[in-house]
């Protein structure tokens, strides 16, 4: 264990900077991406091509009055946005950005990240319930049932990976996939991997979109139906924290997908591995999140649950069995 005082401070500052920059500028990326998909420019006025827009938005949000309506549960109302941010930032402690850039290498990293994700879901429930607004309660209830339903196939897929690697340490999972894209967990049949691995990747990706409440699974914030769902009563930085928490959850989801399936910081041909490949991969995945959001309409709540219980769970269980069979045989 490293006893120098600089290491934790450097990592703390680094992670906070990474998280802060991402939370702010992912909003910019989303608006520009949405704009170009829709054949229009996104923000253009504030700064060159709107690069100062997140700063302008942040100043606007902070200058508004933090309104706490009458009839809400005082403590829970104020705590909910903070609880939405905490799991995402804390999860970054165990994510390996590269071979030697990782804040803390724990033996049970995977378990830690999923435990923290459940706290994030809890924050939505608190936010909705503490608002004392009919719309918010409906949306919080929908969101809880959605999150529970989608955690299950996600965890089953992760168990498949852990079974193949033999460890829950994210560093080791990534190290096992070094050396070229045929070693990555998404690629079937090399190194004794099951033939259904790409299916596992797709299931995991769909579940991360659903866990972070992004369209087409954004029942919780269905704009045209329930105004803003569980965020209706929040103004100013309460809303800002929920939005930042959502973007950070996306970043953590993309990081997890990369480490579990796409080889972490590995170059596709095994040449110049490093943290830059990790960043390229997570930003490609984040662009896919944005791309999916602006393409599809919203699903219905019962069709959403249908998708999870009747399609994703059977497929992921079959994947688990097939992967186990491959490990036994090869």
């Amino acid at each position: 264990m490293d006893t120098s005082i600089w290491r934790p401070i450097l990592y703390l500052v680094g992670i906070m900077a990474f998280a802060g920059l991402n939370a702010a500028y992912l909003g910019w990326c989303e608006r520009k991406g949405a704009g170009h998909i829709q054949r229009r420019t996104g923000p253009m006025e504030v700064g060159f091509h709107g690069l100062l827009q997140p700063i302008a938005d942040g100043i606007k949000l902070m200058s508004k009055q933090l309104l706490v309506p009458q009839g809400v549960d005082g403590i829970l109302f104020r705590v909910a946005p903070i609880l939405a941010m905490i799991p995402a930032i804390t999860s970054m402690v165990v994510i390996p950005f590269s071979g030697n850039i990782q804040a803390r290498a724990l033996e049970l990293s995977v378990l830690l990240i999923f435990a923290l994700a459940s706290i994030g879901m809890f924050a939505i429930l608190l936010g909705g319930w503490a608002s004392g607004n009919k719309y918010a309660v409906i949306s919080a209830a929908r969101s809880v049932s959605q999150n529970i339903a989608y955690e299950i196939p996600m965890l089953i897929t992760v168990i498949t990976i852990v079974m193949m690697t033999g460890s829950m340490n994210l560093q080791e999972i990534a190290l096992k996939q070094q050396g070229g894209f045929w070693h990555w967990n998404i690629f079937p049949l090399v190194d004794g991997k099951s033939i259904l691995m790409p299916v596992s990747f797709i299931i995991f990706f769909i579940c991360s979109v659903a866990e972070t409440n992004r369209a087409p699974f954004d029942m919780a914030e269905a704009e045209s139906e329930l105004i803003a769902g569980f965020m209706t009563e929040y103004g100013s930085m309460g809303f800002g924290l929920f939005m930042m928490g959502e973007y950070l959850n996306i970043v953590v989801g993309a990081c997890l997908t990369t480490i579990l399936f796409l080889g972490g910081w590995d170059c596709p041909f095994g040449l110049f591995s490093g943290v830059w490949w990790f960043l390229i991969k997570i930003y490609i995945l984040i662009f896919t999140f944005i791309w999916i959001r602006w393409t599809y309409p919203r699903t219905q709540i019962y069709k959403l649950l249908n998708l999870s219980w009747k399609i994703l769970i059977p497929f992921s269980l079959v994947n688990l069995l097939v992967a186990a069979a491959f490990i036994k045989v090869f």
Binding site: A34, I37, Q38, R39, R40, K134, I138, A215, P216, D218, A222, E223, S224, E225, I227, W294, T295, Y296, P297, R298, T299, Q300, I301, Y302, K303
Partner: protein, 372 residues
């Protein structure tokens, strides 16, 4: 999906889909009594935008009412212009020159395509897809530019006059229209059908939702795509023809599944049929005057006259009671959306809230037309 209500009557709560809501297109208030997510009773409350158009007709002379017709259903304003002009022409016995009739048909059908494009964009927006709105508006802007070149307005057209139209069309308009039809036909299969119509998420949201039987349609007097999506083939342009529609070769799309998807497909097919009508009309466009000679102050003989036209939403009827004076004695306007909306109370019972909003979108409501 309708289910019987499982809770006691006093466990329901009242939700106001208030006058200000992103999904009701206009100021419509619906009082919903809900049991959890299911609707027990739905009651539309109207009148938030009643502007007394029918009374305004009695206060001025016949020609002064023309701008009002465009303000009722602003999305298919030319058809409403047409309906009123047709009624007064029947009352006063005015003959419209042939070129004017052809220009009327071309502009009304272009406006119908624009109205259906906006309906499609807003419908998919309500369901959560934000991008198709922008793609549809890209095409709609071209129509609006074409019509602006001819009439001078982009939305609330006051272009038709008794005996013809206000001014003539030119070659640039004809070329522009043909180019637009070619462009829309090439974009339809990919951007309209592949991206949205065949999308599994949208199909699962629309198929089987909002079943309206033909008997219910007849009971409430529903017309337009709502009626044709329930299997009844009735279109004023074919069943009670007016203007020069009998000269064109077009079909009426009819679907028998009676659900929201059927109404969606009826409107998509209607866009294609409108394009066919415009092409045929442009080919056969005759030369001649565009406006007949009409006295400045019209005094039709006393009597009771009625004319109906087919708008994008249904059959717009105009009943004129004249007493020989300069102003109408009574002008009654029959709004198609009013009859379509009255179906909502009966069909929405037992639906989920999100399904009810999809159903409302498939009815294609324009509230100022209901309230006049």
């Amino acid at each position: 999906m309708t289910v019987p209500i499982a809770c006691r009557p006093d466990e329901t709560f009242v939700l106001n889909l208030g006058p200000q809501h992103p999904a009701t297109h206009g100021v419509l208030r619906v009082k919903l009594t809900m049991d959890g997510e299911y609707i027990v009773k739905a009651e539309p409350v109207l009148g938030y935008i009643h502007r007394m158009h029918e009374k305004m007709a009695e206060a001025g002379n016949f020609a002064q009412f023309m701008p009002n017709t465009a303000r009722m259903d602003y999305l298919h304003a030319l058809a409403f212009n047409h309906g009123y002009a047709l009624t007064v022409e029947r009352a006063a016995g005015i003959e419209v020159p042939e070129r004017a009739e052809y220009i009327r048909v071309i502009t009304v059908e272009l406006n119908r395509i624009a109205s259906h494009l906006l309906w499609w964009a807003a419908f998919v927006l309500d369901l959560g897809g934000f991008t198709p709105l922008l793609y549809a508006f890209d095409d709609r802007e071209i129509i609006l530019d074409l019509l602006e070149r001819v009439t001078g307005s982009r939305l609330t057209y006051c272009y038709f006059r008794f005996g013809g139209v206000y001014n003539d069309i030119d070659d640039e308009f004809i070329e522009g229209t043909l180019a637009f039809i070619k462009r829309l036909r090439s974009r339809m299969p990919r951007i309209y059908h592949d991206l949205v119509t065949h999308n599994i998420i949208l199909r699962k949201r629309l198929e089987g939702i909002g079943i309206i039987t033909p008997e219910q349609c007849r009971k409430y007097g529903a017309t337009g795509p709502v009626l044709r999506g329930s299997g009844v083939s009735y279109d004023i342009r074919k069943n009670e023809p007016y203007s020069v529609y009998p000269e064109f070769d077009f079909e009426i799309p009819v679907y028998h599944e009676c659900d929201s998807m059927a109404r969606y497909m009826v409107r998509m097919d209607e866009m294609e049929q409108s394009m066919r009508i415009i092409e045929q009309a442009l080919e056969r466009l005759p030369e001649g005057p565009v406006k007949a000679k009409v006295p400045k102050i019209l005094k039709p003989p006393a009597g009771d006259y009625y004319a109906a036209v087919e708008t994008a939403r249904g059959s717009f009827g105009c009943r004129l009671v004249c007493d020989g004076g300069k102003a109408p004695y009574r002008l009654k306007l029959r709004s198609p959306t009013f009859s379509n909306l009255s179906l909502f109370g009966e069909v929405a019972e037992g639906m989920l809230l999100a399904d009810a909003l999809g159903f409302m979108g498939s009815l294609d409501l324009v509230i100022p037309e209901i309230d006049r």
